[in-house]
Symmetry: C2
Amino acid sequence: MGSSSPPWVRAETVDIAVDGQRIEGALVAPSGRRDEAPGVLLVHGWSGTPAGYLDEAHALAAALGCICLTFDLRGHGESEAQRETLTREDNMRDVMAAYDVLAGQQGVQKACIALVGSSYGAYLGALLTYMRPVHLIALRAPALYTDDHWEMPKRKLRVDRESAAYRRRSLRAEQNRALGACAQFLGDALVVESARDEVVPHPVVANYIAALANAHSLTYRVIEGADHALSQEPWERAYIELLVSWLSEMIRDGAGPAGAH
Amino acid sequence: MGSSSPPWVRAETVDIAVDGQRIEGALVAPSGRRDEAPGVLLVHGWSGTPAGYLDEAHALAAALGCICLTFDLRGHGESEAQRETLTREDNMRDVMAAYDVLAGQQGVQKACIALVGSSYGAYLGALLTYMRPVHLIALRAPALYTDDHWEMPKRKLRVDRESAAYRRRSLRAEQNRALGACAQFLGDALVVESARDEVVPHPVVANYIAALANAHSLTYRVIEGADHALSQEPWERAYIELLVSWLSEMIRDGAGPAGAH
């Protein structure tokens, strides 16, 4: 879809400075825009690549005029060598640094910044709401980890035997910091589940939904037949359609004075 | 809107038999239909009247071809004299009897029956999912009552001092039978809150949302500025728009093989 987006949508490379390093981002936005537009930060999963979010960025820029930033979490792309040692704390700082680059772009509407994340990126995105103003949050197949071992390399968490059991548990917001972040989130939320997710089982998604009970609005949808990575093209297309229609409704209604949100 | 709906939408009066009595219902549907269509049961609140749901019924029949039934809960309309003594159990039987009349109508798609309820009607509607197959549920400003005193006259519950405190509590699904019904509901759910609801405070709505974490999809929206009864016309119009667009999405996607729900 990136290549099929209209000619007035442009992608440019940006550098994001974090901890003395630079990670690469792609800023996708309509060219020649004049009015302010919503900003969208897209955060891929642990096994993902920013290229996997380029289609979404192009779709949101083309359909809604959003200014979108997708970027490499450390441990991916050029910094893959660090993969063995990176912690959640490191990647959290990546997300904050990327947010700051996006929020600092000319034309980004400061009161309308959306976080779109998948899997590990959705988990980090939920935590970002503690640290930065986020008005809309879209969590696809959100991962969940115990609060313990925050400074342990992320790679080790993934193979931890306890984590599979943890993801079967019904957890209250106060039992997990990402769920706690959701419980205090007052903006608009989208949660998307893959019907055949082999990594994130339904109880994790149910925990996120229950925690989001104070959001201004909540939209939860399932992509039928889909696996965790949305490995087939119709699944990714269904996800992009959901993203565009949800964000379109939210942006439109947010502007109305007494409309339904 | 009832009077402004297209000429091919017809309303007819039906009798609903319950406990040796008859309550009056209005069946609103496209005339001359051939294919099967979703059925929608609309349940008003304790102070409501079925006339208050006629506009919604006409809108759903006109926009989506649904077969809609709205009716008098006992204690309303012609049976107002019983108001002092009626219990939740009585009104629950009204809702089941009305469901059976709707489900028995020719042309109603048995695999696609929606419950639309407001306030007390939403509470009864949640409980109906224990008793009858309900595939879609729309809860507007859903009321919540303690499980105790099930056979106490409903009118007394309303003035019970404890109920205001109860509606401020964060409750788990296993602590309330209506929330428990939501927790086992696997269909599609819409929850609509009035931003300035003077009867149902936000914690009640949050309890319903959290309980609905196992629904196939969940859509939660707030009508800005609105009071509990949607006493101003733009608020009711916003609600009708929400109902129509939600049900339209659900019916459309339910038909697709691998689409997003």
